[in-house]
């Protein structure tokens, strides 16, 4: 967990988006480039836009086929907005999402087409299922929208119920209000899978469940991923859960990506001070290892008026003058692991006192 990183060779403009090429793997399944979404705040006499909530401010990342990418961050960091932007439930202000090589909205990938590839599981709230529809109708709705005949859609619904661990005969004609939270989440998952997507976005999908139920649902998700060869994007604020399910982890802060890398690397040696603080805030199982001081001071700043330069500098124990002036970019910090961080301390030649020296490129 040392802030001093081993000097690594970082060719210029190396961003997370090119990781795939560099490590010689297949093209990524999902590629997000510079996604932005600002929400205008209107005020004043004429309802002009007086400020913007910079919810998502230029994030880029990739998701490889068959992996689980965990996205973590505090409330208000923009994770849920990101999910909705990916699903196009909200229109992004700028940026692209590329799925399997095709840009969404162009290149022959219509919105409708995208929705056959990528689906979302919502957090269990009572509002995630239509209280007036039976379970069967809820699950069959998606396929029928895409032209699957009713009988076949219903059969598919039954199969999926079985796959998520619910007896079709018992549940097919039930209504959401008769089910428990865990059961409702299984329905949510079945609904998402009904369209046979390749990618599933899980937005705090287990956050509202009791711990024991949460464990069951997580295991179910792992099984389903294996059986259906899915790719997951798992959004959560619960670091333990993310550790358990993810292959790679992306850390968000105030609408930006601050670190991304393989799960074990991130958890063992986080490079970004924010990640370090987050991880040290996790309560330990060891009673001798109590946290004496809170790792992070203060509240997260307002996304309406984010701090200048590096957004984390107001709470960072290592902040220097440079940090409030220049924003760090996401750069490779560990080539072997494929770990990236956006911090001046890890960026060679940035000018930060703890930054490594820039090695002369051969």
């Amino acid at each position: 967990m040392s802030a001093e990183s081993i000097a690594v060779e970082t060719p210029p403009a190396e961003t997370a988006g090119h990781a795939g090429h560099r490590s010689g793997e297949r093209r990524a399944l999902v590629s997000v480039n510079d996604l932005k979404k600002y929400f205008p705040i209107r005020g004043g006499l004429l309802n002009r836009t007086i400020a913007n909530v910079q919810a998502v401010d230029g994030i880029s990342f990739e998701v490889k086929r068959g992996e689980t990418l965990g996205i973590v961050g505090e409330s208000g960091c923009g994770k849920s907005t990101t999910a909705r932007l990916l699903m196009r439930l909200i229109e992004p202000d700028s940026g692209d999402v590329i799925i399997d090589g095709k840009r969404v909205g162009a290149d022959g990938m219509s919105l409708r087409g995208m929705r056959r590839q990528m689906q979302m599981v919502f957090q269990d709230s009572f509002a995630s299922l239509n209280p007036r529809l039976t379970i069967e109708d809820t699950i069959a709705f998606g396929p029928m929208v895409h032209g699957v005949p009713q009988a076949e859609a219903r059969t598919r619904a039954r199969d999926l119920l079985a796959k998520v661990g619910l007896d079709p005969n018992l549940f097919i004609r039930r209504y959401p209000h008769e089910l428990s939270g865990g059961q409702r989440q299984r329905i949510n998952i079945a609904r998402a899978l009904a369209l046979e997507p390749k990618i599933v976005l899980l937005d705090e999908a287990v956050s509202a469940l009791d711990k024991s139920v949460e464990a069951q649902v997580l295991n179910l998700l792992m099984d389903l991923k294996r059986d259906f060869e899915l790719t997951y994007i798992f959004i959560s604020h619960d670091l333990h859960v993310v550790h358990y399910v993810s292959d790679r982890v992306l850390v968000m802060y105030l609408g930006q990506v601050v670190e991304i890398g393989p799960v074990d690397e991130i958890y063992a040696s986080p490079r970004h001070p924010y990640t370090q603080a987050l991880l040290s805030a996790m309560p330990s199982m060891d009673p001798d290892n109590r946290a004496e001081k809170p790792p992070l001071a203060g509240d997260p700043p307002n996304p309406i008026n984010p701090p200048s330069g590096c957004r984390f500098h107001t709470r960072c124990p290592f902040a220097e003058d440079l940090c409030s002036k220049r924003s760090p970019t996401l750069e490779l910090v560990d080539a072997a692991a494929g770990q990236f961080a956006a911090c001046h301390m890890t960026s060679p030649g940035s000018g930060h006192s703890k930054a490594p020296q820039k090695r002369a490129t051969a």
Partner: protein
Amino acid sequence: MNTPIAEANIDVAQVAVQSRGYWTTVLQRLRRDRVTLFFGSVVLAIILVAIFAPLLAPHDPYHASMIKRLKPVGTEGHLLGTDETGRDMLSRLIYGARLSLFMGIMPVINALVIGGALGIIAGFVGGRTNMIIMRAMDVFYAFPSVLLAIAISGALGAGIFNAIISLTLVFIPPLARVSESVTTQVRNLDYVDAARASGARALTIIRVHVLSNVLGAIFIYSTSLISVSIILASGLSFLGLGTKPPEPEWGLMLNTLRQAIYVNPVLAALPGVMIFITSLSFNLVSDGLRSAMDIKV
């Protein structure tokens, strides 16, 4: 036990047996609500009286007789007396149910369709469309309903048709407002997002997901408007802006019988009793339905 536990009648036995829909629950609640059941039967009775008026009325409601004017209640052959031109009160009250109910319910139905559609569209589409529609409604809202009804009726002139148009226009804004409010709430729920995420088109989403969750509240609200509508409709007739003589209609009858209050006060008050009972019953039934359907509008 300071706070009474509200309607927590969770029947454990039944949960296990069979899946119950929403409506079964509603019917169950209704069956236990005696007040609503009673007044519901009153409403039903009045409607039936209106439908079967020709069979029930002992006399022709238009048949006037100058010698039999203002006979008191209990006169032989005229159970409720006769009015100021000698027509049988009972028959006129029975036939009056037709017009009064018609003029009360028709505008609400019209407004439900028009106002409901406007509100649902405004609520679902949002944005500028919403603003335009709701601002237009606000202008109508700037008038107290009675004034608006009278102004429109006054402009259009007397007559049943005009009165219905007038009342329809009066009820469209509140219905639009309620529909918009409920639709906006539903639209922001996750399951609507899930439906959008599955690629469904707007009309499909409205049809499958929004309508069934929205119509309940809108419907309940409109039933609460019926009692107001009946009062307003007969009020218009009372002023001479609704039904024209010699049609039997409760409000109009109240007007023409005013001259009789010194001679035969009970008679003069009778049509109002009918309006009161009808309006009250509709009101209580509407309240009962609202509790049964557990809607907070």
